[in-house]
């Protein structure tokens, strides 16, 4: 299971909505407790692809986020990105570029603007498993 607070979820949602029609992206950090992960901080980064079909994290912002995690004793947990026009599931490209099998990959679908859907996935090769994200 992986958890995120309503406040951190809201940060993702608002950033993704603000960046429409482009994909939005960022990082997640927190703590690992046995088999569970707890997202304690969401980082909102720039999608340097500025595309509605692709995303790449801004390296400078990525570096700053990693330093902030370290300073605050947070564990890097993975990343998040939005799918403006497609479901909350990893695309073939998402799987191909998911290099870290220990990471969680959050995908927020805004396909139905009035019903955003956020899921978290464990990706290993072509296999993606829904991690059961809980917003609490």
């Amino acid at each position: 299971m992986i958890t995120i607070s309503k406040a951190e979820y809201q940060k993702i949602l608002e950033h993704a909505q603000k960046n429409l029609p482009e994909e939005a992206c960022g990082l997640i950090a927190g703590r690992i407790d046995g088999a569970d992960k707890h997202i304690e901080k969401v980082y909102l980064l720039t999608n340097i692809d500025h595309s509605n079909e692709h995303f790449s994290l801004d390296p400078k912002e990525h570096l700053a986020a990693i330093k902030d995690m370290r300073q605050n004793g947070l564990t890097p947990l993975g990343n998040w990105h939005s799918h403006p026009e497609s479901p909350s599931r990893p695309s073939d490209e998402d799987k191909r570029l998911a290099f870290d099998s220990k990471a969680s990959y959050l995908i927020l679908s805004l396909m139905d603007r009035s019903n955003p859907v956020l899921n978290s996935f464990h990706i290993e090769g072509v296999d993606a498993t829904n991690e059961g994200l809980v917003v609490e």
Binding site: N52, H54, S56, L57, L63, E85, L97, F99
Partner: protein, 68 residues
């Protein structure tokens, strides 16, 4: 000499290059790694020619991207 890698002090041989450090650190998917040296980014084609010195601060950033 002592350098800092991902926030941790580490002893490495004098004159080590970024490319050698990537191997030493068992960096996965090195093609998709961005290297920061003292807060400046090192171009991928300069990994072999960039020699580290005492006190340098190195970070490895793993590419994160995707599509929809």
């Amino acid at each position: 000499m002592i350098i800092t890698v991902a926030g941790n002090k580490k002893e490495v041989k004098d004159g080590i290059t970024v490319a050698e450090l990537i191997v030493l650190e068992n960096v996965e998917t090195p093609r998709y790694v961005t290297v920061s040296l003292n807060d400046s980014f090192v171009e991928n084609d300069a990994f072999e020619s960039t020699v580290l010195k005492e006190g340098d601060n190195v970070e490895f950033l793993y590419f994160m991207g995707g599509g929809c």
